[in-house]
Structure formats: structure tokens, C-alpha cells
Symmetry: C2
Subunit: 409 residues, 2 copies
């Protein structure tokens, strides 16, 4: 029998009707002859509602007690799904994270998986039961209930899939799969059949929460094939794996974009009595996420460094820089709002040096000014004016022929 893990998020189990649909879907897979582990999140808005109660009682509720509180949410879903499966003739049993053997460190609200002991689940699968496990939660060595933080249920599913050596870990969502770009804005965006883990990590914001990066990293480390599939319709979704099939090995696989970017620029004298590192260390210490950094040293002009942050961090970044400019030894020069970031992603770039040039050339032809550039082995990002963002994304989607279905990626 092939072992598979099926993970359903909160919106897929938000009502008894939807839980019934999930039960029927699980029954179908069981009848296909698979050994099945189902991982579930809390129903719909249950976690938010529990959090709301907590914050009515305490401004900064104990993290340990928040884990105790929130972990009750998945317990409800898994019991309901299990009793529905049993009612329709599928032998099922639900397990808390602790019962399933998911051991974490003891960092409440953001615990890391330390160990996943598959013996309990394997024993139940051998007894022909569908095993339903609470996502998001585990237990520390000290016996404390913990939760895994954002995207935790995806991580649970991947950890279980790795431990029982499942053939595939299916993440059911309300989207059809991962697209070449955001179909809400890029009309010709096309669903990908396959994608590499690293590409998924770079494209994370394309899927807008479809899959949490931590789960993707976990899948990558343990080489668990992950599939993103639609919960309530047919469709093969998108498979994530180490390397996509050779015939699909295109250079660029997706175009991502992000609005509300701000560029900050600071100037300094040479010799610089501070250090660039200390500037960014100070920003990080104040939880300001810096994305692209560009340093320019041009003859006859003061040396400067520019970096991009999200607009929501702007006022705090300025405060931090002003507060520390004496100590750090620089002059705060300028900032530019109304920017956006557009990226092309594809693991084939590393062996195709002309890709960045092709990107800049196309943007030049479209008369879109490029304010900053950043490259990695599988990604090239440019910062462009926000009013050009969708135009740039469409142009690049076209330039790298992502819409063509004969390139079945």
C-alpha cells in the first residue's frame, strides 16, 4: 500500500458540511488503496476567536497558555472528521500532536519540530485505520503542549510524511496550484505542474499563503514530494520536488511582484568611522526587514548605500536611523516611496547568464525605469515604480514565454 498524507487547512474544514466533503474525499483516496494520514487545522476562524478571548483577558497572554488554548482548535476538527469517517464506514482514529509523536523544542507559539516518532501512526496504518492528526501542535520533551507558529499545519504534514516515508504529501487549499504569476493581475498566468522547492521559496508571495516557507524547507531537507491541490474540485495541482523533470526544465518559471516598497539612501564620508554592517545590525535589532541593498561608490560623489524596506516599516526605520546616526557616523540622505519589486524565478538561471540581461533589455524597451537590482542564483529582482509593476510583470511573463502551454512546466 502506498502511504499518503492529506492536509486540510482551516477554510477546508470551516463547517460540518465542509468536513463531510473532506471525509468523502478521504474515503475516496482510501478506496484507491492508499494508507492515509490526514492532518487538519482548526475550523475556519476558530483560532482567531480563541485568540480574541485571550486578548480580552490579558494584554500579553502567557505564551504557554496560548499554546494550551489554541491547540484545542485542531482537537475539535480532528475528532469531528474522525467520527464522520467512522459514520460513513471508514475506520478512523484521531491523535493529538503529542499522541502522534511530534516532539518539539519548548519555544511556545513558535516551536520547531525536533523529532517525529512514526511508530504510533505506523501501527495504526498497519491496522488499516485512517489516522487523523492535529496539525500545528506538538509536545516538548518536558510534556508541555506547544504550537509551531504560522504555517504550522503544513509543517506537521511534511514532518509526518517524512517520518512514515509517504509517497506524497498533499496540501489541499482553495487554489488550483502554484501559478507562473498571480492570476488576479496577470491574465496569461498558467498553473505549473511541477516546481522545485527552492523556486517555491522564492515565489512564496505568488501563492499568497498557499504554503509556508518553513514547510517547504522541511520538505526540501527531507526530500518529501509536496503537492498543492484544490480541496473541493478535481485537479492535479502542482508538485514540488528537488528537481523538475528535464523536459520541463525552463530557465524562468515564475514572475513574482510586491508593492509598497520604499528605498532609503544614506551617505557617508571616507574614511567611514562606522561600518555598513553596524547600520544593518541596528535595523535588524529593531525588527526592520531590509530586502535589497545596493552600494555605490562613484568618483567625485559621496559614497552612498541604498536599501529597500516595506512601506509599513518606514516611520520606524527613519526613527531608528535618526537616533543612531551620530553613533553610526552617517548622514541620512533620502528616501523614495511609491516603489515595487518585480522578480523572475527559475533554477535554470544559474547556468544561463544571459537571463538578467534579457530582463533589463525588455524593461528598457517598455520604458520602465529600474531603481535597484538584486540577483541570486535562481532569482533576479528589480525595483520599479509602483505604477509600472503590473506592466513590468506582464512584460516579463511574456518575455520568458510563461503563458505558452506547449511548455508544460
Amino acid at each position: 500500500m502506498t502511504k499518503i498524507v492529506m492536509k486540510f487547512g482551516g477554510t477546508s474544514v470551516e463547517s460540518t458540511e465542509k468536513i463531510t466533503d473532506v471525509a468523502n474525499r478521504v474515503k475516496g483516496e482510501k478506496e484507491n488503496g492508499h494508507d492515509i494520514v490526514v492532518v487538519v487545522s482548526a475550523m475556519g476562524k476558530a483560532t482567531d476567536e480563541l485568540s480574541k478571548l485571550a486578548f480580552e483577558l490579558a494584554d500579553s497572554p502567557s505564551k504557554r497558555e496560548m499554546d494550551m488554548l489554541l491547540s484545542s482548535g485542531e482537537q475539535v476538527t480532528m475528532a469531528l472528521l474522525s467520527l464522520k469517517l467512522n459514520a460513513i464506514g471508514v475506520e478512523a482514529i484521531s491523535l493529538t500532536g503529542a499522541q502522534a509523536g511530534l516532539i518539539t523544542d519548548s519555544v511556545h507559539r513558535n516551536a520547531k519540530v525536533m523529532k517525529m516518532d512514526p511508530s504510533k501512526i505506523d501501527g495504526l496504518l498497519a491496522a488499516n485505520k485512517v489516522v487523523i492528526v492535529a496539525g500545528f501542535q506538538g509536545i516538548s520533551e518536558a510534556g508541555e503542549i506547544t504550537t509551531l507558529g504560522r504555517g504550522g499545519s503544513d509543517t506537521t504534514a511534511v514532518a509526518i510524511a517524512a517520518s512514515i516515508e509517504a509517497e506524497i504529501c498533499d496540501i489541499y487549499t482553495d487554489v488550483d496550484g502554484i501559478y507562473t504569476s498571480d492570476p488576479r493581475y496577470i491574465e496569461s498566468a498558467r498553473k505549473l505542474e511541477q516546481l522545485e522547492y527552492d523556486e517555491m521559496l522564492e515565489l512564496a508571495n505568488l501563492g499568497a499563503g498557499v504554503l509556508h516557507p518553513r514547510a517547504v524547507e522541511f520538505a526540501k531537507n527531507y526530500k518529501v514530494p509536496l503537492r498543492v491541490r484544490p480541496s473541493f474540485k478535481d485537479g492535479e495541482g502542482t508538485i514540488l520536488k528537488e528537481e523538475v523533470d528535464v523536459e520541463n526544465n525552463l530557465v524562468v518559471r515564475g514572475v513574482a511582484f510586491e508593492s509598497d516598497i520604499v528605498r532609503l539612501t544614506i551617505e557617508y564620508e571616507i574614511p567611514f568611522n562606522g561600518s555598513l554592517a553596524s547600520i544593518f545590525t541596528t535595523l535588524a535589532a529593531n525588527h526592520i526587514n531590509v530586502d535589497i541593498i545596493v552600494q555605490s561608490i562613484v568618483e567625485g560623489v559621496k559614497p552612498a548605500v541604498s536599501f529597500s524596506i516595506k512601506k509599513e516599516s518606514l516611520s520606524e526605520a527613519i526613527t531608528v536611523l535618526e537616533t543612531h546616526k551620530q553613533a553610526l557616523g552617517f548622514t541620512f540622505a533620502d528616501f523614495e516611496v511609491g516603489l515595487s519589486k518585480v522578480s523572475i524565478v527559475g533554477s535554470g538561471m544559474v547556468s544561463n547568464p544571459g537571463v538578467a540581461a534579457q530582463m533589463f533589455d525588455r524593461l528598457r524597451k517598455e520604458n520602465i525605469p529600474v531603481k535597484m537590482v538584486s540577483t541570486s542564483e535562481i532569482k533576479v529582482s528589480v525595483v520599479v515604480p509602483q505604477q509600472n509593476m503590473i506592466e513590468a510583470a506582464n512584460a516579463l511573463h511574456d518575455e520568458f514565454e510563461l503563458a505558452l502551454t506547449h511548455q508544460s512546466v
Copy 2:
């Protein structure tokens, strides 16, 4: 430090406002210098709402999964209370039944406490923490989550009190304590200061769910002083113990009554080719609860046996009797509806043989016909017409001077 257990039921924790009130009450007791364990039920109607979801999904939901489902309810309450206590400066920690060490048998939905290991709680009390434990739930030796059935949170509180050798187990409720009779009907009913466990068991229906008989039996077996107290006002409530103080040792301590009683009569020939035992065995096998049984053998009249049941069981009882009358060898004779049961309770009766006579005498003076009689060591019950029930209860309450405050019982 004196150890005390404080138990709060669902209505006492039904909202964040009430949880705040409970937290303040716990804080007060902590400041009085006690070591405190708090046992909580699920919030208000939470258990009912979870059950409703389950029955939307399955006609007869798996008992194991119902336990998994329902046990999430207390987990919410205990976490909320704990984070509130921490927020108001009282170090607190919540524990599931399993974490607290409450081991049960494996009868899901109606588990019995097998063992309560106090080591975890004692360790936390020693570290000066208020320990909050989920009522109603435990864990079997096999690691399965179980629930204790009706009144389960009371039983949890008593089991913990016994294991940590608490000075007292306070059951907080929405009533002031246990009364000599139901104050909604008997105007002169008076709150009792003390009551014996056995009397409480007999008076159970006086308190209408104030305290579950199983918890009272548990307290009796382990000699745990139990106190029923009002949640949201001052008042010493009623203390239950092995023996009440000598100065309070009245003969009769309470008058209980119950409406909607039916009397069934069956006749048989002598020699009886069946047996009376087999009639009642058959009724019990069909879950029909028989209360009072009276057999009459009078010269020249067919022998008969009468017994009382609740009105809601009447149609089923008649069906069962008709179905089995051939096999059991009797004639179904008669039934009488519109009856009620009135009882006097008091542990002093055993050494005061005149009590029953005094009761009958008073009822005769009031012209209230007595249809059936049943006596135990600490109780005398009579079946009277329903229209005389309150009149009878008032008369007996008066007859045994239960309203008199100088008899501070």
C-alpha cells in the same frame, strides 16, 4: 500552607467577564495564604455546542472521538483562566487531565477514576503556582483521552483533593448551598450549614444538579470535606462530611420531592410460575428504572406487586410488560398516573423508630392519601397524589421543624 481545591462549573466560567471574576476570587484565596488547585468545566454551553456539531455529522458518534472532541472544552477554560491569573500577577499554570495525572479506565464517555497521581500538582504547588486542572477528563493507561460522564468535573475536584490531601474541596455553584427543601416551592426552606455524605446522596434531587452523586460517593470514600458555595457572592455554603457536629444532629434534615411518578400493578397466581425477580430483571434490561416496590399478599385476593417508575418510562414499561407477560407468567393489572414522591431524609432516623409514624400521622391529619411507602435507614419516601405534593412537603417541613433557625443544622 493549607491546600484547597476550588471547582467552578460551566455557568461560572461562561464568559470572559465571569472568568475574570473567578480569577479575582482565586487571587483572594491565594492571598489568604492557601495552596490552590482550581478545577474548571467547559465554558457555558460549549459542551452542548460541540455535541451538536458531532450529531450533525453522525447519528451515533464514536465514543472515543466524542471524548477527544469534548475534552477540548475544558482546555479552553483552563488556559483562559490561567492567562488571566498570570495577567493579574498570580503565577498560574494549566494542566490537562492527562498532565495532571488523572488515570481512568478506558470506558469512553463514562470513565472511572483509577488513580490520581499527585506528584505533578504537588511539585507545582511547592513552586508556589496556582494549578488549574481541566475537569471531567483523564487519560487511560493506553494513553487515550477519556471523559468521566455527568458530574465529571466534581469528581475530578474530589479526586484531586483526596490525592493532595486538601483541607477542603469547594464546589462553586450558582446556588447558596444545600437547602432543607427546594426553596422555589417551600417558602420556609433554610440553607443547611452541614450535611452528611449519605444524606446528600438521598437529597440529590433537592439540589437539582448542584453536586453529582458520584462525586459525593467519591468524597465519602476518601473522607474529603466537600463544600457547596456560591460562585459570585459571599457565603459559607454547606459543608458535607462524614458526620455532622453533634449539636446539629437532628433526626430529619431535609424534605425532597419529585413529580411525575407512575404506579404499575401486576397480579399473579399462586403458585407463581415465573418469579418477581425476573420481572424486574427484564425491566432493568430495558433500561426502565424502578424505584419503590410494594408486594401485597392478602387472604382471598389475588397476590399483586406494585412498583413506581417515572412517567417518561411508562409507554416503554407497558410494552415490555405486555411482550413478556406470557413468559413471565403474570397478568398486567393496572397503572395509576398523576403521582409524586415525597421523602424525608436524615441520618438520625436509624436510632429514632418513631419518625415514619410521625410522618404518616401528619399526612393523615392533612388528609393526604399515601399510595406507597418505602423506607431506608436514613430516608422514608411516600407516594402521594401529585396535587398534594407541595402541600405534603410543606407539612413535613413544618412537622420536623426544619425552618427553625435556632436548630442550626
